[in-house]
C-alpha cells in the first residue's frame, strides 16, 4: 500500500519534471530560431524603434515613480541606522551602491516583467489565437522574424536603460530626503558617492545584471506568448506564467550573479 503511494508520487514527480524539461527545451529551440533574425533588424530599424517605444518608453512612468520612492525610503532607513555609528555623511555612497548594484536591476526587472512582459505575452498569444501569426506564415512572412525578433530586441535594449533611469532617479530621491529632511550635507552626499562608487566594480556589474535580466524576462515573455494555447484561457495562462516565471528567474539569477561578482570580496 505504502509502496504504491510512493510509486504514484514518484511517477507524478517524474511526469512533472519531464514536462518542465520539455518546456525548457522548447524554449531554447525557440530562442535558437529567433536569434538568427536579430541581425536582419538592422535593415529595418523602424520595427525595433516601434517596439522599444512600446516596451520601454511606456514602462517609464512606473519605473520613475518606483525609483523615486525606493530611493527616498532607502535614505530614511539607512540614515536611521548610520547615524548611530556617526556614519551619516556616507549616506550618498551607500544609497548609490544599493541602487546600482542591486535594487536598480532587480526591482526594475520585476516591474518590467509585470508591466511589459505580461503585455508582450498577451499580445503575441492573442495574435496566435486570432490566426494572425498563421496568416503571416501563409504570406511567407516569418512571424519569428517579423513579430518576435523586434520585441525581443526591444526588451533587451529597454531593460538596462530603464534600470539606469531607476537608479538615477532613486539616487536623486535619496538626495532630496537626505539634504531636505535629514540635514545631510549635500556636498558630502555627492563627493562621498563619487569617491566610493567604482565604475567597473559597481556600475558595470549592475549593467551586466540588467542585461541578463532583460534577455531572460523578454525571452520568457515572447516564448510564453508564442507557445500559448490559442484560446482566451491559454492567453491568460501565458500571461500569468510570464510574470511568475520571469520574476522567479530574476531573483534566482540575481543571487547567482551577485555571488559571482561580489562574492570574493568578503
Amino acid at each position: 500500500m505504502n509502496q504504491r503511494i510512493t510509486t504514484t508520487v514518484l511517477q507524478r514527480l517524474g511526469h512533472w519534471a519531464l514536462g518542465r524539461l520539455q518546456r525548457l527545451g522548447r524554449g531554447n529551440l525557440f530562442l535558437l530560431h529567433v536569434v538568427p533574425g536579430l541581425p536582419g533588424l538592422l535593415a529595418r530599424p523602424g520595427l525595433m524603434v516601434q517596439q522599444t517605444f512600446a516596451i520601454g518608453v511606456l514602462s517609464l512612468p512606473i519605473v520613475v515613480v518606483a525609483g523615486l520612492f525606493v530611493g527616498m525610503v532607502l535614505a530614511l532607513q539607512l540614515y536611521n541606522t548610520m547615524v548611530d555609528f556617526g556614519a551619516e555623511q556616507s549616506l550618498g555612497p551607500v544609497v548609490a551602491l544599493s541602487l546600482v548594484r542591486e535594487l536598480g536591476p532587480v526591482v526594475t526587472a520585476l516591474l518590467f516583467a509585470g508591466r511589459a512582459g505580461s503585455a508582450l505575452a498577451a499580445e503575441i498569444g492573442l495574435m496566435k489565437a486570432t490566426e494572425q501569426l498563421s496568416s503571416m506564415e501563409m504570406m511567407a512572412v516569418d512571424p519569428l522574424r517579423r513579430v518576435v525578433a523586434p520585441r525581443l530586441a526591444g526588451g533587451i535594449l529597454s531593460l538596462p536603460l530603464l534600470s539606469a533611469i531607476f537608479s538615477a532617479v532613486g539616487i536623486s530621491g535619496g538626495f532630496l530626503v537626505a539634504t531636505g529632511l535629514l540635514g545631510v550635507d549635500s556636498n558630502a552626499y555627492w563627493s562621498q558617492m563619487r569617491a566610493n562608487v567604482d565604475l567597473f566594480d559597481d556600475v558595470a556589474n549592475g549593467v551586466i545584471k540588467s542585461v541578463v535580466f532583460g534577455v531572460v524576462v523578454t525571452w520568457i515573455a515572447v516564448f510564453e506568448g508564442y507557445d500559448a494555447a490559442p484560446t482566451s484561457e491559454g492567453v491568460a495562462r501565458a500571461t500569468t506564467r510570464t510574470v511568475v516565471n520571469s520574476s522567479l528567474a530574476v531573483l534566482g539569477l540575481d543571487f547567482i550573479l551577485t555571488a559571482l561578482m561580489f562574492g570574493d570580496n568578503t
Binding site: 490566426e131 496568416s135 506564415e137 511567407a140 512572412v141
Partner: protein, 267 residues
C-alpha cells in the same frame, strides 16, 4: 489542354488530429486556370485541407504536390518562396489588428517587394476599390464588420497577384449585394489574371455558379466530384441532399448521440 499537369495534386492523403482521422486517403486535382470548389458538411476538414496545401500541416501519409513540388518536403526557404505565389483568405479574415486597413493590404507588398511608396499606395487602392472598401482604408480592423474584414482580407490575399488563391468561406457574412459582387469578383480575378482558384464554401448556389469543378468531401473521403452540372444530375442520394439542402437523407445533421427520447426520459 488535358495533358497539362494539375497545379495541385493530392494523392492518397491521410491526416489525423490527435488520433481522430480527418482524411482517409483522398485524391484531388486542382486544374490550372480554373475555379475548383471544395464543399462538405461543417467539420469535415475543408480548412485543414487548405492548411495542408499551404504546408502548415504535414500529411501522415500520401502527398500534396503544388506546381510539381511536394509541399511537405520543401525546405523552409523553398516553402516560403512557394507561399509568395499563393494567396489565402482565412475563414476569420485574420487581419493584423495593429495595422489599419490600408497597411494590412500593403503588408505583403512591403514585406516582399521594394516598390516605392507611391506605387504601393496605388496598388493598395486598386485592390481596395475592387472589394468596395477604398473609403474604409483608414479604419482599424476592430472597426470593421465581419463581412468587411473578410473583404479586406481578400484584397490582401490578391495584393501580390499570386498564381493561386485559396478562399476559405469567402461568402459567409456577406449581404446579398456584396455577395453578388464577390462572386463576380472571384471569377473575374481568376480569369483576368490567369490564376487558379480554390474555394471552400457552404454556399451551394453561389459556389456552383462560379466553379468549374466541384469536390464533395465527407467523413474523410471524396464523396463525388465533377462539374456542377454533372453533380446536379447525380444519382447519389448524398449529393442530392447536400446540394439541395434537404433535412432528411444520408447526411446527418446531428453529431452522433443516443436516441433523443431515451436521453430525455433518463433521470
Amino acid at each position: 489542354m488535358a495533358s497539362e499537369p494539375p497545379l495541385v495534386e493530392i494523392r492518397g492523403l491521410r491526416f489525423e488530429y490527435s488520433g481522430r482521422t480527418i482524411f482517409d486517403g483522398i485524391d484531388i486535382d486542382i486544374r490550372r486556370g480554373g475555379v475548383t470548389a471544395i464543399m462538405g458538411p461543417s467539420g469535415t476538414g475543408k480548412t485543414t485541407l487548405l492548411r495542408l496545401i499551404g504546408g502548415q500541416e504535414r500529411p501522415m501519409s500520401g502527398c500534396v504536390r503544388v506546381d510539381g513540388m511536394e509541399v511537405a518536403r520543401l525546405s523552409r526557404k523553398r516553402l516560403y518562396e512557394l507561399r509568395k505565389r499563393m494567396g489565402m483568405l482565412f475563414q476569420s479574415g485574420a487581419l493584423l489588428t495593429d495595422l489599419s486597413v490600408f497597411d494590412n493590404v500593403a503588408f505583403p507588398l512591403r514585406e516582399h517587394t521594394r516598390l516605392p511608396e507611391e506605387m504601393i499606395r496605388d496598388l493598395v487602392l486598386v485592390k481596395l476599390q475592387a472589394v468596395g472598401l477604398r473609403g474604409a482604408r483608414d479604419l482599424m480592423p476592430a472597426a470593421l464588420s465581419g463581412g468587411m474584414a473578410r473583404r479586406v482580407a481578400l484584397a490582401r490575399a490578391i495584393a501580390l497577384d499570386p498564381m493561386m488563391i485559396m478562399y476559405d468561406e469567402p461568402f459567409s457574412g456577406q449581404d446579398p449585394i456584396s455577395m453578388g459582387v464577390l462572386v463576380k469578383l472571384i471569377r473575374e480575378i481568376n480569369d483576368a489574371l490567369g490564376m487558379t482558384t480554390i474555394i471552400v464554401s457552404h454556399d451551394v448556389h453561389e459556389t456552383a455558379a462560379i466553379a468549374d469543378y466541384l469536390y464533395l468531401l465527407s467523413e474523410g473521403r471524396v464523396v463525388e466530384h465533377g462539374t456542377p452540372a454533372r453533380l446536379q444530375r447525380s444519382g447519389s442520394e448524398w449529393t442530392r441532399q447536400f446540394l439541395n439542402g434537404l433535412p432528411d437523407g444520408p447526411v446527418p445533421f446531428h453529431y452522433p448521440a443516443p436516441e433523443f427520447g431515451v436521453e430525455l426520459l433518463q433521470p
